[in-house]
C-alpha cells in the first residue's frame, strides 16, 4: 500500500469514473415542463420566477412597472436579477432547473436554447399578430427560429447614434451630416482646424472591445443590406467575405487613423468607453467633436462626468442618426427579450401582459433607463427631449436589426469579435489576420 500511492489513486479514480459514467450521458434537460403542463388552473395565487440582467435603476423601474399589475392578478413574482445572468442561465439549463420566464439581452443564447428544448415557442402563448402590429418593424425576427417566435422584446435601445455638443458644434461651424460623404466632409473640416474629429474608446474591463462591434454592425447594415447582415449574423457570410469589406473599410478609414481619433488610434483600445466621448463637451477648445454610442451614454456615469445633467441635457447634448451611406437609414439597436422556459397559467398571463400590452413600462420609461419596443408607446413618458428624439428614431425605423454580436454564438459575439477588433485597433494584428481569426473561431456545426 505504502509503495505505490499514485497507482492506487489511479485505480481509485477509474473505479469512481465507472460508477459515475452513467450520469454524464443524461445531461440534456429533462424537466423543461415539455411545454404541455398548462394545467388549466387559475393564475391567481401562483408564483412566477423571472430571471433577467437588469440592475440598478433599470431593475427598480422594471419591478415598479410589473408589480401593480401582478398584485391585481394575485400573482407573486419572484424576481431573480443578476449582472451574471448569462452564466447563471447556462447553469440552470445545464442543471435542468428552469425559471418560468427569462429576459435575455442576447437573442443568440435563446437560439442556442431552442435546440436544447429549454425555451418554448411563444406562438402558442402570446397573440403574436397583436404583438407584431405594435412592435418596431423587424424586432421580432431577432429570436425567431424556423418561423416560430421564441423571444419578444420588452425593452429596447438604439445604437445607430452619433452624439455632439451643441455649442461646440455650432462654434466650429459644423452642421449635422445626413450622409456618409457629409460626415467625411465634417471630419476634413475639423482636421483642417488642426483637431481630431472623433472621440472613441473600446476599453470595458472583461468586455473590452464591444464598442467596435457596434460600429461594424451599423455599417454592415448600411453597406451590405439586411439580407447579407442576417446571413453574416447566422454565420453563412464570413467576416472576411468581400461583401462585408465596405463596412470594415469605413471603420478602417475613420478609426484607425491617428488624425481622426482623439488620443491616437492605438490608444483608443485602452480608452474607457464610458468617458471616451466626454472630451467633446469641453467648455472651450474641445479635443474631438462627435462620437458614436448607444443611448445609455447620456447617464450620470458617462456624460454626467462631463457636466451633463437632467436639467441641461436638452440644451447641451445633440444626437443624430448614423448618416446614410447608400440612401437607406436602417436602425441598429438592442433589447431584452422575454422567453418562456417553464410554462403554467400564471406564467402565460405574465408573458402576455409584458409583451402584448404596448403601454407596459410607463413608470420604467420615466426613470430614463428604458425605451419601449412598441411603435405606439407614448413618448411623453420619457424624461427629456433627447430621449424622446431617440425613441422617435426607433419608432419610425423602417428597418430595424438587433445588435449582431448579441445574436452570434457567444464564442464569437462576446469573444473573438471583441478581442480581435482590439488586437487590430491596438496594432497587435493587421485587419486580415483579425478577420481570419474571427472566422476560425466560429463554432463548428
Amino acid at each position: 500500500m505504502r509503495g505505490r500511492p499514485i497507482t492506487t489513486m489511479a485505480v481509485l479514480t477509474v473505479a469512481v469514473a465507472l460508477t459515475t459514467s452513467a450520469c454524464l450521458g443524461s445531461s440534456t434537460t429533462n424537466n423543461s415542463g415539455s411545454g404541455g403542463n398548462a394545467t388549466g388552473g387559475t393564475a391567481a395565487g401562483s408564483t412566477v420566477e423571472i430571471m433577467y440582467a437588469y440592475g440598478g435603476a433599470q431593475d427598480t423601474g422594471f419591478r415598479a412597472s410589473l408589480d401593480p399589475w401582478a398584485k391585481s392578478q394575485g400573482i407573486t413574482i419572484k424576481y431573480n436579477s443578476s449582472d451574471q445572468f448569462d452564466k447563471l442561465i447556462q447553469t440552470r439549463v445545464q442543471g435542468g432547473d428552469l425559471p418560468n420566464i427569462a429576459v435575455f439581452p442576447q437573442p443568440g443564447i435563446i437560439k442556442g436554447f431552442v435546440a436544447k428544448n429549454a425555451v418554448q415557442p411563444l406562438d402558442d402563448i402570446v397573440d403574436i399578430a397583436k404583438v407584431k402590429s405594435t412592435m418596431v418593424t423587424g424586432f421580432l425576427d431577432a429570436a425567431s427560429v424556423n418561423g416560430k417566435v421564441y423571444g419578444i422584446p420588452i425593452s429596447a435601445n438604439v445604437k445607430s447614434l452619433y452624439w455632439y455638443d451643441k455649442a461646440n458644434f455650432a462654434a466650429a461651424g459644423l452642421t449635422v451630416p445626413k450622409t456618409q460623404d457629409e460626415l467625411y466632409a465634417l471630419m476634413d473640416k475639423v482636421k483642417a482646424m488642426g483637431k481630431t474629429p472623433l472621440c472613441y474608446g473600446m476599453e470595458s474591463g472583461g468586455a473590452t472591445g464591444w464598442p467596435a462591434t457596434d460600429w461594424i454592425e451599423d455599417y454592415v447594415l448600411q453597406t451590405a443590406g439586411i439580407e447579407v447582415y442576417d446571413q453574416w449574423v447566422a454565420g453563412t457570410v464570413k467576416f472576411s467575405d468581400a461583401k462585408l469589406a465596405p463596412a470594415f473599410d469605413i471603420y478602417q478609414k475613420m478609426l484607425t487613423d491617428d488624425k481622426n481619433v482623439f488620443g491616437g488610434a492605438k490608444a483608443a483600445a485602452a480608452n474607457a468607453f464610458g468617458t471616451a466621448l466626454n472630451p467633446m463637451f469641453a467648455a472651450t477648445n474641445p479635443s474631438c467633436f462627435t462620437g458614436k454610442q448607444g443611448n445609455f451614454i447620456t447617464g450620470a456615469d458617462f456624460f454626467g462626468k462631463a457636466g451633463v445633467t437632467a436639467a441641461n441635457i436638452d440644451t447641451k447634448v445633440g444626437v443624430f442618426q448614423t448618416p446614410s451611406v447608400s440612401g437607406q437609414s436602417p436602425v441598429l439597436g438592442g433589447g431584452d427579450l422575454l422567453a418562456v422556459m417553464k410554462s403554467d397559467a400564471a406564467t402565460k398571463a405574465v408573458a402576455k401582459y409584458l409583451t402584448e400590452d404596448s403601454t407596459f413600462g410607463g413608470p420604467w420609461a420615466k426613470t430614463g433607463t428604458m425605451l419601449s419596443p412598441h411603435k405606439d408607446f407614448d413618448v411623453s413618458n420619457y424624461p427629456n427631449q433627447t430621449l424622446k428624439d431617440v425613441a422617435t428614431i426607433l419608432q419610425k425605423a423602417t428597418v430595424f436589426r438587433f445588435d449582431g454580436s448579441d445574436s452570434m454564438p457567444a464564442k464569437v459575439g462576446a469573444g473573438s469579435f471583441w478581442t480581435e477588433m482590439v488586437k487590430w485597433q491596438s496594432g497587435q494584428e493587421d485587419r486580415a489576420t483579425a478577420l481570419t481569426n474571427i472566422d476560425n473561431s466560429w463554432p463548428a456545426s
Binding site: G55, N80, D83, Q94, G95, G96, G294
Partner: protein
C-alpha cells in the same frame, strides 16, 4: 488587547507566559518601524483611492481621487445612503442571508477538517497517504468546474435554493485547504504529547477536544478567517445555489446597470461589505499570541 500578555487566558499552562512583550517596543528599531509602515502605506494606498472615491459623487469623478486634497468640499455620504436604501435587494436582508450562509459554512468545515487532520496526523490507517495526496491534488480544481455537476446532483434531491445547498458547496470547496492547513499545523505538534495523554488513559476523542484543539487555535483561527472571507465574498455559489435570495455580494452587484451605471454605489457598497470581515479578523487576532501554544506543548 493589553500590552501585557498576562491578561490573556492561558490554555492549560499554569506557568506565567514567557513573552518578551514588555521589552518589545524598545527593541523595534526605527528601521523596522519605517519598513513596516512603508509596506503598510503601499498596501493601503490603492484601497484609499477607492475609499475616497466612495465619498465622491459620480459627477465629480472626472479627475483623480487625490484631487480631494485640494478640494475637500466635494465629499458626500450620498453614495452610502443610496447603496443602503435604493436598489431592489435591500442590503439589510442581504446581510442576514450572508450571515446565515457564512457562519455555518465557516464553522462546520473547520470542525470536520480538524477531525480529519487529527486522524491524518496522529492515527495510522490503511490508505492514509493516498487520501492525503488526493486531497492536495484536488486543491487545483477550479470551483467553476464543479458547478454544473453539483447543480444537477442537488436538483435530484430538491436542494437548490436552500441554505443547506450553499453550506454543502462551501464545506466541500473549503475542505481540502482546511485539511491541508490543519494537518500541516498539527504535524508540527510533538507526538510525545499524544503519547502521554494515551498513557493517562485519554481516548482519541478526549485528546482531540481537550488537547489538540486548544493547541491548534492559531491554525483554526487562521483558517476560520480565510473560510469566512471566501464565503462572505463569494458571488457565484450564492447566485447559483441560493437562487434569488440575495446575499451581500449579490445585492452589491445588483446596484449596477447593464453598462456599469451606478459604479459609485458599488464603491460605497464594497466598504459596507468589508466591515464585518475586518471585525472578524481583529477579534480572531487574539488567538495569535506568543506563548499560546508553546506553554501547552512543553509537558
Amino acid at each position: 488587547m493589553s500590552a501585557s500578555a498576562t491578561s490573556v487566558p492561558q490554555v492549560g499552562s499554569g506557568k506565567a507566559p514567557k513573552g518578551k512583550v514588555g521589552a518589545k517596543a524598545s527593541q523595534a528599531s526605527w528601521v523596522v518601524k519605517a519598513v513596516v509602515w512603508i509596506i503598510v502605506f503601499l498596501w493601503t494606498l490603492p484601497t484609499i483611492g477607492l475609499l475616497v472615491t466612495s465619498f465622491r459623487p459620480t459627477t465629480a469623478q472626472f479627475n483623480g481621487w487625490w484631487n480631494v486634497i485640494t478640494n475637500p468640499t466635494q465629499l458626500t455620504i450620498q453614495n452610502y445612503q443610496d447603496a443602503l436604501t435604493t436598489g431592489s435587494n435591500p442590503m439589510g436582508g442581504a446581510f442576514l442571508n450572508s450571515l446565515a450562509v457564512a457562519i455555518p459554512a465557516t464553522i462546520i468545515p473547520i470542525l470536520i477538517a480538524a477531525f480529519a487532520a487529527y486522524a491524518f496526523t496522529f492515527m495510522d490507517f490503511p490508505g492514509k497517504n493516498v487520501l492525503f495526496i488526493v486531497i492536495v491534488g484536488l486543491l487545483v480544481i477550479p470551483n467553476q468546474a464543479a458547478f454544473v455537476p453539483l447543480f444537477r446532483l442537488f436538483n435530484l434531491f430538491h436542494l437548490n435554493g436552500t441554505f443547506l445547498a450553499v453550506w454543502l458547496v462551501h464545506i466541500g470547496f473549503g475542505m481540502p485547504l482546511a485539511v491541508y492547513i490543519l494537518r500541516n499545523y498539527m504535524g508540527t505538534l510533538p507526538k510525545a504529547v499524544i503519547e502521554s495523554a494515551k498513557i493517562d488513559g485519554a481516548s482519541h476523542f478526549t485528546t482531540f477536544w481537550r488537547l489538540i484543539i486548544p493547541m491548534s487555535y492559531p491554525a483554526l483561527a487562521s483558517f476560520a478567517i480565510f473560510q469566512f472571507l471566501w464565503v462572505w465574498n463569494d458571488l457565484f455559489v450564492a447566485l447559483i445555489f441560493l437562487q434569488g435570495e440575495p446575499v451581500m455580494t449579490v445585492a452589491l452587484k445588483a446596484l449596477m446597470g447593464q453598462q456599469g451605471q451606478g459604479y459609485a454605489l458599488l464603491t460605497a457598497g464594497t466598504f459596507v461589505t468589508m466591515l464585518l470581515p475586518l471585525v472578524v479578523f481583529v477579534s480572531l487576532q487574539r488567538y495569535f499570541i506568543r506563548g499560546m501554544t508553546s506553554g501547552a506543548v512543553k509537558g
